[in-house]
Amino acid sequence: MQKYGYSKGAVSKALEAAIKLWLRYEYDLKGEEELNNKAFEEVVSELEAKFPGMYAVIAEGQLSGVYKSFEEALKTNVREGSSHRIIFRIGEKPKPTVRLGWRARLKPAGAT
């Protein structure tokens, strides 16, 4: 095995890297993030029918407002201690995949 570069701990490092990648695949939404995303799913159809092209703000688990510009949406007050907020352009559906290129990469699992 040594001929092919086997070293002590190689299998555990490979397992560690695989688990890290698996955990990285999905974000575990908690607290305000989860509430805001639930609120988004509840209101999105109505917003798309009534306010296409405008900007919506969802905070503290509810729709805070709909604005003509992104600047106006940014100016809405953020509650002190707030950990999350959603702002999106109504009806805009971004591309679901991104090619990350050469520079962006995951940290190596490290030497064995």
Binding site: R85, T97, V98
Partner: protein, 141 residues
């Protein structure tokens, strides 16, 4: 556009988030990476520092990112405003990050509204931004 300390083409930018700008004063050089086809990729630290978690897109619109080595994982994505002070330009776009990312990059989507002339020997470039039929040519070294 300039080259950064590692001789890579970079653009001087200012990013606007809910909690302030990045950098707080002046501009920061962000590399141009045409292998990245998004708008702007920020390190996790910078993403949080300027409060992009307070203007995030719904999770439904967070994209999957794929590295050159084939790993696929979820990115977080927020809406933000980016300024190119030397060109007097303001752009609105999606800022991405992912767990463990330490790189800041501008991608193809960022430069799609511009014409960039790379001057290798001069280590500089001209930015030619086209909008509303008006051509604005700026050397922003």
């Amino acid at each position: 556009m300039k080259h950064d300390d590692q001789m890579v083409p970079a653009i001087g930018l200012v990013l606007q988030g809910m909690l302030g700008t990045l950098p707080p004063k002046g501009e920061m050089l962000i590399r141009v990476d045409t292998g990245y086809d998004g708008f702007l990729l920020l390190s996790e630290t910078d993403y949080k520092r300027i409060g992009l978690h307070l203007s995030e897109l719904p999770e439904r619109y967070w994209p999957e990112g794929e590295t050159v080595t084939g790993e696929v994982f979820k990115l977080r994505r927020a809406l933000s405003i980016v300024y190119i002070p030397k060109a007097g330009l303001r752009l609105e776009g999606h800022i991405d990050t992912f767990q463990g990312n330490t790189e800041n990059l501008t991608g193809l989507n960022f430069i799609k509204t511009m014409r960039l002339l790379l001057d290798g020997p001069g280590q500089q470039a001209c930015l030619k931004h086209v909008f509303a039929g008006l051509q604005k040519v700026i050397n922003i070294i």
